[in-house]
């Protein structure tokens, strides 16, 4: 397709304009650097299969990149990115279920590479599998506040801002999630002890 230099220039400007953030809002690269760990941890804790974590993180930042121009205020960045992570993870889990691979079930290969020994690694992978199963047992709303509070160690204020609900709601969901999780963890321990006793 023949393109005149003037048209080409206009097109380049259009393309660049679409990717430029509003004044005072971090650039795409700054968003990547600032939120990479947050996106990764959220993705894993919200149930992204470990063998798809790279895909999920790239998909999240692809959306961030394409929509960065819509971000008007820096203070909204974390909440905005979190919303994207949640939806992308959910989409990947759904696709995985549709493919019959399993509902984003826990996997033993999900450990970081800093494993001290095979024994410790096996022990930790077993703990992570149990953790994932228990998290899967919580409903979505409880799971997200539990994950943000306990795994990502965010404060009640930060969680309220991130998921866009009042503080009271955060605390009531968190209280219920912790009780459920705790009870499930104790059941898990008893079941393990019974198996060992046999």
């Amino acid at each position: 397709m023949a393109t005149s230099p003037a048209e080409a220039g206009d097109r380049a400007a259009t393309t660049l304009a679409r990717t430029e953030p509003a004044l005072g809002v971090p650039s795409f690269h700054e968003l990547c650097a600032r939120y990479f760990d947050f996106v990764w941890k959220c993705a894993r804790a919200l149930g992204a299969p470990s063998d798809e974590t790279d895909d999920v993180v790239q998909d999240v930042f692809l959306v961030v990149q394409r929509r960065a121009a819509d971000l008007k205020e820096e203070r909204l960045a974390r909440s905005w990115i979190y919303g994207i992570v949640r939806r992308v993870v959910s989409s990947h889990r759904r696709q995985r279920r549709d493919r019959g691979v399993g509902g984003g079930e826990p996997d033993v290969d999900s450990l970081s590479s800093s494993q001290p020994s095979p024994f410790a690694a096996a022990e930790r992978s077993s703990e992570v599998n149990v953790l994932m199963r228990l998290l899967d047992g919580l409903d979505e709303r409880k799971r997200e506040v539990f994950v943000l509070s306990e795994i990502l160690e965010m404060s009640g204020n930060e969680i309220a801002e991130t998921i866009g609900v009042p503080m009271n709601t955060v605390y009531s969901r968190l209280r219920a999630a912790r009780e459920e999780f705790d009870a499930a963890a104790l059941r898990e321990r008893k079941s393990l002890e019974r198996k060992r006793a046999l």
């Binding site: 230099p5 080409a8 220039g9 097109r11 380049a12 259009t14 393309t15 660049l16 304009a17 679409r18 990717t19 430029e20 650039s27 795409f28 690269h29 990547c32 650097a33 990479f36 760990d37 990764w40 941890k41 804790a45 790279d54 895909d55 790239q58 998909d59 930042f61 692809l62 959306v63 990149q65 394409r66 121009a69 819509d70 971000l71 008007k72 909440s79 905005w80 919303g83 989409s91 990947h92 999900s110 970081s112 590479s113 800093s114 930790r124 703990e127 992570v128 953790l131 306990e150 795994i151 160690e153 866009g164 605390y171 209280r175 999780f181 705790d182 963890a185 104790l186 898990e188 321990r189």
Partner: protein
Amino acid sequence: MKEMSREANELVSAGRQAFRPTEADRARLMAALAGGATLTVTGAAAAGALRPLRWILGASHGLRALAIALPVAAAGSYWWQASGRSAATPIVQPVSQPPAAVVERSAISAVEVVEERAVLNPAPALPERSASPAFESPKPANGIREEVALLSKAQAALSRGRPQEALEALSEHAQRFPRGALTEERAATKARTLCALGRRQEAEGELKYIEKLNPTSAYLARARESCRAR
């Protein structure tokens, strides 16, 4: 709030450790993302994909070198930044200031890629990504990238002053991804498109829908502002 049992705390602690990205994870993904960001500026703007390898293979020698050098420089810069020596330094050349050669390529193909590849091939093959083992196995089509491609097509049409075209792309998105991951993004673009067409009442309906989906949506301000400006 009541303390959790030791068993529960041990599981949480295992999760905190296991869900942390490793340095290798960071380096691999940041390099891949830097490659993808460069691409957006340079030409494969939408088609909704991070497809560094495909573009690199099709580029001239100079651009090829640039495309390879930028992600490498980006990864290096990231570590420099991570080690606290240059906290305010952007990872790669800012998107708003691409090198001249890059702009040139963007000028040639950015919108064409959006229009032609995304439209003519609505289910593009998975892009090549970083060379990590995670990307080596064949994967099924990725819905998110197809969604991004359609929404990018709508945005491109809207910024070129063709709201009707944008609306068609958005309808296609709604048809193909009724429960898609980017429903909120679609509604935001639709609100702006409807305002551009002067259909304010319908736009208001979309804004209300976004508010219902996510009361604190980051898209609301931009969409409202865009509608007020018209």
